[in-house]
């Protein structure tokens, strides 16, 4: 292929490698406007654009390769960047300044940036290439492991470092009996010391993994068919295994540079100066392939990002140098927090350790200080809550003593040191190098009032996310400091939040709205009529707690009737012309032909417009209010009941056909969906609740977009929570794995009741999960580990609900008094409302809307007014 020569005016920048650092470099170029002045061409070896390799393992908890993408939609097009996927660079000619790709593309460059990353190191043991041996680096590796694991029972990971533990977590997630073989005497030898390793070991063994430390792999053995069947270890023992993953560290990918004659270090890595320039001034190297000017190769993403920034700055004529980086890390490995920062191993002269160790709880904390009390570094295992604050304090004398900093809360320690104590120059987000001062500025100067706004404005918290908690504390502190007093009250009538009202109603067993308003409302609102916000909210709280506090479970009983929003009041959904739509419950979306025919007949007889909903049911539109009882009489007769489409309540539990019919299904998803829908039907909550059950990982029921979603596994059910579709879609988070039927139901009981108890009005589970302090981890602690000791109570509340459920429509039809409210006119019950009219459309009907002229409306009738 002919060489494409750079034009006289537009310089060409060729980037080799499109990993996380490569993408960060492109973003840094775009931010500086360099992409407008230069042609940028990227050669990427992998078949997909840059993705979050740090979170690779999250694929097994439901993240798809698309979720992991680091590239915003349209980014390449917007900045005119040419990205060649699946086409690695094969040769560099530094004299001619050209790069040739595997596909034969030859690119001339003015500037070349190497971001080739690293490759997994595979120890040269016999049998390392047998079928069933893998490395753990790319999405393709992961897919291959997933496929092979289907026929495997035991997996072994060679290497007990950071990546090794990640890989072990992945194998465990795939259901394999998992072994870790580490040559060093402890796990994660680079990051943690002996004490930290011991805490980590105990926790990981408790999870059912087997750890072999202090032994090396001598040989991978294979059976007659050439596939792996085990390993021979250096202590003479043998380990039976069907699958082996090598995760014994990485090495810089410097081969391309080496062949091009660029200087490389003795132990690998492309030699670069403080601007990340290689021995050829037109060539730069960044990320894990570079040997930085301090003589180190950094295998972490944050220093890679700093190098990317430095090179982008250099190409924009600025001076920014990279002379070395903080290798602090905070990770969650197999669910265990592990963090190390600063001089973690106490290498400085005369430094001292302060250690707190609780092997029973798997917690180990060590701080390294000098003689004057300056914090130099530390290691945290099992509890890394204070990582953000401690890392930022490194290099200064903390305002409270080191022993108080490592003691757990409640062990005589004062209140944990908050981020308020940090100086402005303290780096809060080390991925994007954002200081506390910048974050405060976002609040004070850029009017950001929420964490998402601050994230958008400063980029803080958008990397690994480990600083988001500190970020939230800083934003709140700053808002309070600037005198922004947010009235968190529900409405003009109540100064309390929904959660506070819930607690009042529950504790004092208040069953009347008026009683609550008069005793607990704002002074000016007491004795009044309340408002359209608090009435339905309190109505919902009383309904949720009805059996427990002794209120009627029927939402149209007595005073409760006056509290319900119009839809709840008429047990149907009001549409734009004042007519209603009707949705009978079809649990799990399963329906007999007979029942389908009934729905068809009812719709036909009443002239209703019918449409299939997204929740696997049928919606019938265009019923006048006076027709609702007649329509429901037919439906109830045929065995239907209310679908609660009108309520802030459980809507549907969708399902796929599952194991019964589908060749991929591994559980009976329809039965589970029906069971769940019948269990939670009628449950009043702060907002609507949607659910789904998928019979296998293919997820045809879209459970991950639901408030609570269930996906079948070979061993049971995975429970996801906090998903949402709609305007702000959110993928649900995995709450627990491989649950039995009973465990699943119990966990959902607790989750829903905890949500109902603590959410704000009209707050879906997705926003609730993001808002609630501690987020998913906190919710998991409460509902899985019972950290608040309330699970028995939550379960009993749900048991009360289930026992007290009655069909609202059947109850309504049985009571002539209640039927009165459906009369069209109080003084002319036999006259249907003549203004509710319909016209034909596509063989059905649609509302015939009155012509509107708001401004002059009824003006001519003023005379009739009093």
């Amino acid at each position: 292929m002919a060489a494409m020569s750079p034009s006289a005016t537009t310089p060409t920048i060729v980037v080799v490698g499109h990993g996380m650092v490569g993408q960060r470099f492109l973003e840094a170029l775009a931010e500086r406007g360099v992409t407008e002045r230069a042609r940028v061409v990227v050669l990427c070896e992998e078949p997909r654009p840059a993705y979050d390799r740090v979170r690779l393992t999250s694929y097994f908890s439901g993240n798809t390769p698309d979720d992991l993408s680091m590239v915003e939609d349209g980014f390449m097009e917007k900045h005119g960047i040419e990205l060649h996927l699946d086409d690695p660079a094969e040769r560099i000619d530094t004299a001619a300044r050209t790069v040739t790709s595997r596909a034969g593309l030859t690119l001339s460059y003015d500037t070349l940036v190497l971001a080739t990353g690293s490759y997994p190191f595979v120890p040269p043991v016999p049998g390392k290439d047998a079928e069933g041996c893998f490395v753990y680096r790319t999405i393709e590796d992961l897919l291959a492991i997933e496929e092979y694991a289907k026929t495997a029972r035991v997996g072994a990971v060679v290497g007990g470092g950071l990546l090794g533990l990640e890989a072990a977590g992945a194998l465990k997630g795939l259901g394999l009996e998992t072994h870790i073989v580490e040559f060093a005497p402890r796990l994660m030898p680079v990051q943690v010391d002996e004490g930290g390793g011991a805490a980590l070991l105990r926790t990981i063994e408790d999870m059912g993994l087997t750890v072999h430390t202090g032994v090396g792999t001598q040989e991978v053995t294979a059976g007659e068919d050439g596939t792996v069947n085990g390993m021979a270890l250096s202590d003479g023992s043998a380990l039976q295994a069907d699958l082996v993953v090598f995760s014994a560290g990485v090495r810089p990918r410097d081969q391309l540079a080496r062949e091009a004659g660029l200087a490389v270090g003795e132990r690998g890595g492309i030699v670069v100066d403080e601007q990340c320039r290689t021995s050829d001034p037109a060539v730069f190297a960044i990320g894990e392939c570079a040997l930085a000017s301090d003589g180190r190769v950094y295998g972490l993403v944050a220093p890679g990002y700093e190098m990317a920034e430095a090179v982008a700055a250099a190409l924009n004529g600025e001076t920014q140098t990279f002379t070395g980086a903080d290798t602090s890390t905070k990770l969650k490995l197999l669910g265990v927090d592990v963090a190390s920062f600063g001089d973690a191993h106490g290498a400085a002269d005369g430094c001292l350790d302060v250690v707190y160790s609780d092997s029973r709880a798997g917690v180990y904390k060590k701080l390294v200080v000098d003689g004057e009390g300056t914090l130099l570094g530390g290691i945290l295992v099992g509890d890394a809550e204070s990582y953000g604050t401690l890392r930022a304090l490194t290099g200064s004398v903390p305002p409270i003593s080191p022993e108080q900093l490592v003691l757990p809360a409640g062990a005589g320690a004062p209140v944990a040191l908050g981020p308020a104590a940090l100086p402005d120059e303290a780096v809060i987000c080390s991925c994007h190098n954002v200081t506390k001062g910048t974050i405060r500025g976002a609040v004070t100067d850029h009017q950001c009032t929420t964490v998402p706004e601050v994230k958008k404005c400063t980029k803080a918290g958008t990397g690994c996310g480990s600083c988001v908690k500190v970020l939230g504390q800083l934003v709140n502190a700053e808002l309070e400091a600037s005198g922004v007093e947010v009235d968190k009250g529900l409405c003009g009538c109540f100064g309390q939040t929904r959660q506070e009202l819930y607690e009042i109603v529950r504790a004092l067993r208040i069953t009347s709205y008026q009683q609550l308003l008069d005793a607990h409302g704002r002074e000016a609102a007491r004795g009044g009529d309340g408002c359209e916000i608090c009435k339905p909210t309190v109505g919902s709280i009383i309904a949720s707690l009805a059996p427990t506090i002794g209120a009627s479970g029927y939402v149209l009983e007595g005073e409760q009737a006056a509290l319900q929003d119009t839809n709840d009041h008429f047990l149907a959904n009001m549409q734009k012309n004042g007519s209603y739509s009707i949705v009978p419950r079809i649990p799990g979306g399963e329906i007999t032909p007979e029942k389908l025919i009934i729905i068809g007949e009812v719709a036909r007889d009443f002239g209703l417009y019918t449409k299939i909903t997204g929740g696997q049911r049928i919606d019938m539109f265009g019923a006048r209010v006076d027709q609702l009882p007649q329509i429901w009489a037919r439906l109830v007769d045929a065995g239907f009941e209310s679908g609660h489409a009108y309520g802030k309540a459980l809507r549907t539990v969708k399902s796929c056909v599952g194991q019964t019919w589908c060749r991929y299904g591994v559980q009976d998803s329809v039965r589970m969906a029906i069971d769940l829908e019948l269990r939670y039907r009628g449950l009043r909550s702060p907002h609507k609740l949607k659910s789904a059950v998928s019979g296998c990982q293919r997820e045809c029921a879209e459970a991950q977009s639901k408030d609570f979603g269930v996906i079948a596994t070979a061993n049971g059910w995975n429970l996801y929570v906090g998903g949402n579709g709609g305007a702000t879609p959110r993928h649900a988070d995995l709450l627990a794995q491989d649950l039995s039927d009973a465990e699943l139901v119990r966990l959902i009981d607790r989750f829903l009741m905890f949500y109902i108890r603590t959410a704000d009005r009209l707050e879906r589970t997705s926003t609730w999960l993001e808002r609630i302090e501690g987020g998913l981890e906190h919710v998991r602690d409460v509902v899985v580990n019972d950290s608040l000791g309330i699970c028995a109570e939550l379960e009993s509340l749900m048991a009360d609900h289930v026992a007290g459920y009655r069909d609202e429509w059947a109850e309504t039809l049985n009571d002539p008094e209640r039927l009165l409210r459906f009369e069209s006119f109080v003084n002319a019950p036999d006259v249907p409302d003549p203004t509710v009219k319909f016209v034909p459309e596509r063989d059905q009907v649609k509302p015939d809307l009155p012509l509107l002229s708001i401004r002059s409306f009824d003006q001519t009738l003023e005379g009739a007014a009093r």
Binding site: G492, C493, Q514, A524, A525, G528, D529, G530, C531, E532, K535, P536, S552, E557, G558, E559, A561, A562, L563, D565, T566, N567, H569, F570, M574, K576, N577, G578, V625, D815, E817, L820, R821, E823, S824, F825, V826, N827, A828, V831, D833, P834, T835, V836, L849, P850, L851, L852, I854, R855, F857, D858, L861, E862, A864, A865, R866
Partner: protein
Amino acid sequence: MTATTLAPATTDVQIQLRLGDDWAALCPLSRLTPGRGVAALLPDGRQAAVFLDREGRPYAIDNCDPFSGARVLARGLVGSAAGRPFVASPLLKQRFDLETGRCLDDDSVSVTAYEVRLR
């Protein structure tokens, strides 16, 4: 059958609405629930939305929601703001003063308010 809001002594009391010089009887007071409304058909074809507040005082305004044209205000929720009763439209929640018919959320909009009494 369950408890209702009516007391036997009030069952005979009628709600009347003023139309010009006449008073039209709409329904017994017992048909209303404090905090909710009912619709009534007027002789000229217009519709009134009739409400009771928690003290048992009656109010009536035109039933037509001027923002949608639908006759639905009787199905809204009653509340009070600064001591004055209002109804919030069940469609898009605009509030209307029950005594004057003025829209509290848009000064340029109002609905007819009717005089009512108990007899």
